[in-house]
Symmetry: C2
Subunit: 196 residues, 2 copies
């Protein structure tokens, strides 16, 4: 069975791929808006960890709406959630038997409720899997330490391909650095560089 | 890392073992009250699928309280939930680095909330994993079909080792067959007989 896993090159979505590869032919799928070329980092990481890779293109309007929401809110949560739901729809339309993401038990965002999962499955005739939903933060940290090579640092210095990178770039482009810092508090990003 | 997985010999807990074995040294753990010897079916299935096996003994008072609750309610849900929580505590006390169960996204019972999971982890200094929480019914059916050999039939004819078997026996012993049928509607059970 072919499974498309929404992929950022980060540790969660990479670990999700390792959980699923026993059961599925996993393709790592990175969604992008065409704002930057950061999706290429995910392609490189996919090659480093030995999985097939595909890119799906999302409508730039979705990014613009998400940015507007984040600037209104003053925090990124609702904008990120909106983009995640849109990206899952795009992967579900790409023809896989199953779609998946790396959401975790302890994530505040993005989240996919049981009702949303069921709706995605019914409308697209796919299975939706979130294999890390049953894994807590401690377990994930320990499994990452045992299975992956990871580098970490400030968001600006770690080349990743999650939505945040493009959304930050869009805010910077249209509203300046100050607004990026207002919406996204400083935090450390991680990026997978290979399997152990 | 050593992981104890609460095990019934059924397809869900067996599939959960296959999901986790890439990352953990998995021991299948069957909890029992000493009412019947049905835990031996789980030991046999564990051997058939190639995993280590342990038995943990639960206090018979817990079974008696669960039976009382089920008879009062007229349905088994709350009694089963009570027993499941008690069994998870017992596995968490058995000295594993991590404990797990086979609860699924679409299960109504047993369920383990995020708060209950966190509490179990904090009190026992273990990780708690429910690897099938992110898998829907359709995905699980398809994965079982691809990975396991399964037999199915009425509950009375399929030798399993879930709590229900002992709780049914206890009700039968103390209240008669009529009460068993009143609490547990007829349904089809499945039991794993090996890996494909």
């Amino acid at each position: 069975m072919d499974l498309g896993l929404l992929y950022s090159g980060g540790k969660d979505s990479t670990l999700a791929a390792l959980v699923l590869e026993r059961f599925y032919d996993v393709t790592l799928v990175t969604a992008q808006f065409g704002v930057t070329d950061d999706w290429e980092h995910a392609r490189e990481t996919a090659a480093d960890v030995g999985f097939a890779f595909e890119r799906v293109d999302l409508d730039r309007d979705v990014a613009e709406a998400a940015v507007e929401r984040m600037l209104d809110d003053g925090y990124p949560r609702n904008g990120i959630q909106h983009v995640h739901e849109h990206a899952l729809e795009a992967v579900a339309e790409a023809g896989f038997d199953a779609v998946a993401d790396g959401t975790r038990r302890d994530d505040r965002v993005p989240t996919v409720s049981r009702a949303q999962a069921q709706s995605l499955e019914d409308r697209h005739d796919v299975d939706y899997l979130s294999p890390l939903t049953g894994f807590g933060r401690g377990a994930i940290d320990r499994l990452v330490e045992e299975t992956l090579h990871v580098e970490s640092g400030p968001s600006e210095e770690i080349p990743k391909a999650d939505y945040e990178t493009e959304l930050r770039a869009l805010i910077r482009e249209e509203h300046g650095d100050e607004q990026v810092r207002a919406v996204f508090p400083d935090h450390t990003q991680t990026r997978v560089t290979g399997l152990q």
